[in-house]
């Protein structure tokens, strides 16, 4: 007699228990973060990467809960591979109905994102024109910009003053400043652990672009090569903070006194002001080479609708409701947690928090030096230049040769996209 029988648990009971558990598991799987107990209409799913600012997850779920026509489930995706998870899920039946991402042509080419022109056109004039342009292909607009996120250098004026350092205007001056600012406790500069966030501003500050008007390579110039060489010099100088616990997007390094200046986004400004008070300044990426000009990376996030989703119309309704109609939520999203610039000019104009002090200076840099993503610059091309940076700046390879290798990959991508 088996132990099973001793415990009065026969096979039928065990089978029933297993089926019960399976059913319970299935029911549990039907749940999720809808943010409410019941709701009508189609069940929609939206993907968001995990923002660093406290309260953002709750805010997004609160907006979703307020929508009455559909049950909206939010997948708040933590970790550093939001892109991979999003791309992989878009190939399956579990793909989100809408998701945040950056404008990229391959998603349009592969039919993954829906044309949202009919939603945006009536209010098109109220959007930052550069945001509209960066989401437009053949006259159709494929995403709704939610926030604009300028990235620049944050610095501690007190430490600059103590070291007798002026705000750098050129990359050489930045390297010299980092050396003077470095002490046994504080490193001169922090550019992130992978340094990937340096690629775009480096190209723009060297007076180049990723692609030209004919969608051909425009980043491979002598000034860009020289910029990579200078970054290598900074990387090996001992004046750069390396292997910090958090990456560039998190203000911990400058807040904890590990560095005198840090590349970061305007989203982290409130946290920095809270930690450092008035001892905080900003400046754009300095110019690279004689023909260069200072630059600011105007990053941000946009809402896209899955063109292959089962609830396309319902999703478009939801997206319109939240990101076109609900200006109150849009303002809350842009300004209540971190500082972001609202892409809607009417909201940006009335945003008191951005009208004075350091936030106003951030807006000024955004307008004066800002550069937006090119929709033809897709993930494969991004990765190709990330490899250039890794191999030349962190590994010590020849930037010109590495850029030539990247050219082959980017050209292959461009051929697929533009023929």
């Amino acid at each position: 007699m088996s132990a099973f029988r001793n415990s009065n648990l026969d096979r039928r009971t065990a089978l029933r228990a297993a089926l019960g558990l399976a059913a319970a598991g299935g029911l549990a799987a039907c749940g999720g973060n809808t943010g409410r107990s019941s709701g009508g209409g189609a069940g929609l799913t939206q993907y968001f990467h995990a923002y660093g600012e406290a309260g953002t997850e709750q805010a997004i779920k609160r907006y979703a809960k307020a929508y009455k026509d559909s049950n909206v489930t939010t997948q708040w995706i933590t970790g550093s591979n939001f892109e991979s998870k999003l791309f992989a899920s878009l190939l399956t039946d579990k793909a989100p109905d809408c998701f945040e991402f950056h404008p990229q042509l391959q998603m349009i080419e592969s039919g993954q994102v829906a044309d949202l022109s009919d939603l945006i056109n009536p209010v098109k004039d109220d959007f930052n024109p550069a945001d509209i342009a960066s989401h437009t292909v053949d006259g159709k607009i494929y995403g709704i910009r939610m926030i604009d996120d300028p990235q620049f250098f944050f610095y501690r004026p007190s430490l600059f003053e103590k070291a007798g350092v002026e705000v750098p205007q050129t990359l050489e001056e930045l390297i010299e400043a980092a050396a003077k600012l470095t002490t046994d406790k504080v490193k001169g500069a922090y550019l992130g652990n992978t340094l990937h966030s340096m690629i775009n501003p480096l190209i723009w500050s060297a007076g180049a672009q990723h692609l030209d008007d004919k969608n051909q390579i425009a980043y491979h110039t002598d000034a860009v090569v020289d910029g990579f060489k200078q970054l290598r010099k900074l990387f090996t100088s001992g004046d750069l903070l390396l292997d910090a616990p958090t990456d560039f997007w998190d203000p911990s390094a400058i807040n904890q006194g590990l560095t005198a200046m840090q590349w970061c986004g305007m989203w982290a400004m409130p946290q920095m002001q809270e930690a450092l008070g008035d001892d905080l300044g900003i400046f754009p990426f300095p110019k690279v080479g004689d023909a260069g000009k200072q630059s600011v990376y105007n990053g941000g996030w946009s809402m896209f609708v899955n063109a292959k989703g089962k609830n396309l119309e319902a999703t478009k309704e939801y997206v319109k409701w939240l990101w076109i109609d609900q200006k109150e939520y849009q303002e809350d999203w842009a300004l209540s947690y971190g500082f972001h610039i609202p892409p809607r000019t009417s909201i940006a104009a009335s945003a008191d928090k951005l009208k004075s002090g350091l936030p106003a200076e951030g807006v000024k840099l955004f307008n004066e030096y800002g550069n937006f993503d090119n929709i033809g610059w897709t993930q494969a091309s991004i990765t190709a230049l990330e490899d250039v940076l890794a191999n030349s700046v962190r590994k010590g390879g020849d930037p010109d040769k590495e850029l030539t290798k990247a050219d082959a990959k980017v050209n292959k991508e461009l051929k697929k996209l533009f023929g």
Partner: protein, 321 residues
Amino acid sequence: MSTITKDGVSSPAPAKASPAKPRRGLRGSPTFNFWLFTGPFLIGLAIFVYLPILWSLYLSFFEARFTVTPSEFVGLDNYVTMLTDEEFIRSLVTFTIFAVFIVPLTWGTSLGLALMVNRLRFMRAFFRSVFFLPTAVSYVAASLVWKMSIFSGVRFGMLNTFLSLFGIDNTAWLASPDPPWYWLVILTVRLWLQAGFYMILFIAALQNIPQELYEAASIDGAKPGWQTFWHITLPQLRATSTAVILLLLVAAYQAFDEFFNLLNKTTWGRPPLVELYYKALGDSQDYGAGSAGALILTVLICLVTLLQGKFMGFGRGEESK
């Protein structure tokens, strides 16, 4: 009960009739029972292993970027791409370096721990548990602890704090391949995670060695310690060692978590699975090239395993030795 025969040899009494009723129909059929118990497993195997492998084979002959249902047949292009891809070839070199270090290191450490724990007179179970416990920790969690606590590059990283006591400057353990300190981080985390498991295998094998062998050796004048270990213990552990080395090699081929989490988006220190992840599932989403690479890797693993089995005699019966 037995009966006496003419030859005086007892024959077994006839068995009593079983009180249980003989099973009839499907439930009594061994074939039915075989499929009942193995069926679900085989279905799972077919759906989750063989079907994906076949689909991967199909994808490897197609241009499959951002899709797993491609239509553009490209023949062997993906295979040529992968076999001429500098990064993929480099990933095989990375694996080789990793295996060359981690296999003997883990083998030696786990054997050493097993010998040590096996000789303990007190608290043997405690130490066995202590060394085995890391096996229960996830590779991701352990990698993050290593990266953010022990090997953090800033001044309050545990190792940097310790080294600063001797006046040594902060080291960014994972930032740069020159010098390649990242290997220290990767090897120590894996060693910590897996040595305990193999220690248990060695302890089991050590306890199976007949005590008489040691006694006979002692009578013959063998000195306890190194001589006994070299001439008795180690040969007796041959079968276990072979299995452990095979398992370690397979585990090394499957290395992913610690490389992926410790070396985020570097171009160095990518073993084959990480390289294939970046090719197929990462930002590139090239399922055609990724599938071709996966199949090349599968063939390679089979070849290495067969060669290793032939070289070390894994699975060979005692009688054939």
